[in-house]
Structure formats: C-alpha cells, structure tokens
Symmetry: C2
Subunit: 155 residues, 2 copies
C-alpha cells in the first residue's frame, strides 16, 4: 500500500504540497503563513488525526454513542537542532450519553499500541502524554489520565 505526494518550491520557504489527484495545501515556515501550514503543524495533524479516527471507530464498535469528539494536540519542541517534539500532549474529549470510561480507555489503548500508524513511527522518540475528558450527556465533564501500561503488558 503506497502513498505519494509532491512538493513544489514556490519562493523563499513556501511550497505547494500536492497529492496525485490534485488535492493541495501550502507549506511555509512560521513567518508570513497566510493559509499555509508548517511541517510541524502538519505532523501534529497527522498524529492527532490518526488516533482520532481509531478512537471514534473503536468507540462505535463498542456501541458507545458519541455525540461530540475533539482532540487537542500540543507539541513541545527540543531547544536545539533538530527541533523535534520532545513531548506531545494529546487530550481526547468525548461527549455522549452513557459513555463508559473503560471503553474510552480501551479505545485509546488500542489506538496507541496497535492501530495508529503515525504513533508507531515515532515510537519512544517522543514522550506522548495523554489525558481524556468524558462528558456524559448533560452531566459534569470528568478528566482522566491515560495509564500507559505498554511496558508492562504483552502486546
């Protein structure tokens, strides 16, 4: 299974990024963005998008009725080159009547450990810290820390 993209230089550090069928986005450095994105923003989109899809899909398979779903991602960069993300904080926010904490925890675990392709590529190079918020219908929102058991449990 292959994925291909092409980036064409425009000027300065601005590039037109395209997929074969013509879908396109602009990439630029942090100054003078217009509607362009930086590579590191696109990376967070990829990481968050990957696990977001997994979690929504797994929750549905667990018959959890999700009304709203959001994920926020924050990357904290290393101070010297290469300025990779030392830390990536992911916060999942799930709303729906009767959403079970254990179902959410399990969906996140399956994504982080088994399904998320972007997560698998960064592996231990980035410290991924996870919290999740559940709001059961009109009830109070509760915040939980995701417990990473990946080093204790066989996969």
């Amino acid at each position: 299974m292959e994925v291909s993209v092409k980036l064409k230089w425009n000027k300065a550090l601005r590039f037109n990024a395209e997929v074969a069928d013509g879908r396109a986005v602009e990439i630029n450095s942090a100054e003078d963005m217009g509607h362009a994105f930086t590579p590191m923003e696109l990376f967070l989109f990829a990481l968050a998008g990957c696990t977001a899809m997994d979690v929504v899909w797994i929750l549905e398979r667990q018959r959890q009725k999700v009304d709203n779903f959001e994920i926020s991602a924050r990357g904290i960069r290393h101070k010297e080159d290469p300025k990779y993300y030392e830390i990536a904080d992911l916060e999942y926010k799930i709303e729906g009547k009767g959403i079970r904490k254990d179902a959410v925890e399990r969906a996140i675990r399956l994504s982080q450990e088994k399904y998320c392709s972007v997560r698998a590529m960064i592996n231990d190079n980035v410290n991924v810290r996870i919290t999740y918020k559940i709001r059961d219908g009109e009830g109070q929102e509760q915040t939980f820390m995701y417990a990473d058991h990946s080093s204790q449990e066989p996969s």
Copy 2:
C-alpha cells in the same frame, strides 16, 4: 517552543483540523476524500516539507542558485496494523545553473542528520531511501543515490 492544533469530529471519519489562528484543513479516511487529506498523506507532507525547507535554505547559504526545486515522497506501508511506513522514498529534484553535486549532497546530509525535526522523530523506525536529481541549466538531468554515512560518521 510549542505548537498546538485541534481536531473536531464532523461525521464518520471526517475531522476539521485547525490551528489556533483559524488556518484549517479537513482530515478523512481514504474513501470520499473531497479536498480532505488522510493522516498518512499529512505525515508525508510534514516529512517532505521539513527537509525541503532545510535543503533550499542550506543551498542558498552555499551560494547555489536554485531555479526550481521539487521533492517527491512515497511511503510504503506495513501490511498489518499498525500500518506505518516501512519505507519512505524521498526524491529531491534541483535545477539551476552551476549547481554542484557536493553542495546538494551536503545540504541533504545536514537536513537528514542535523536539522529535520520530523526526520529525527521517526529516526530508524522508517527506512528512508534518498535519491536526488540535478539539472544544470539547460543541461541533461543526472540522478544520484544519496550515500547515507550516518552510521559511520560522528555527528
């Protein structure tokens, strides 16, 4: 230095991905794309965009006169979950009068080994294979394999 993004679930596996200042892109699974992107496409944009900026910038500092620059990225996915990229092929294409091969090779090396933040996060988890093409003005285009000496040389 921090970067933050937020993804809001729309429906099915479709998400609106936003940066704080309102720049936004749609993320979706491979079916029914519209103008959305998959997380794995966005990942290739991030990887290619990161090194593209480095190489253009380093070539300029080496006083190479670049008229055209392109980078193609192709990811070959693992067959089972997680379907990460086992291989990422990068092909740089540089046009300009008097562009020197050693300057291009050096720019790619500095990006791959020192500057590219996305590259640093995937490290050895993805087999990154690199070629580059140089076209000197109106001359013939020549293709070169990038020689990865990273394991032999001190950084």
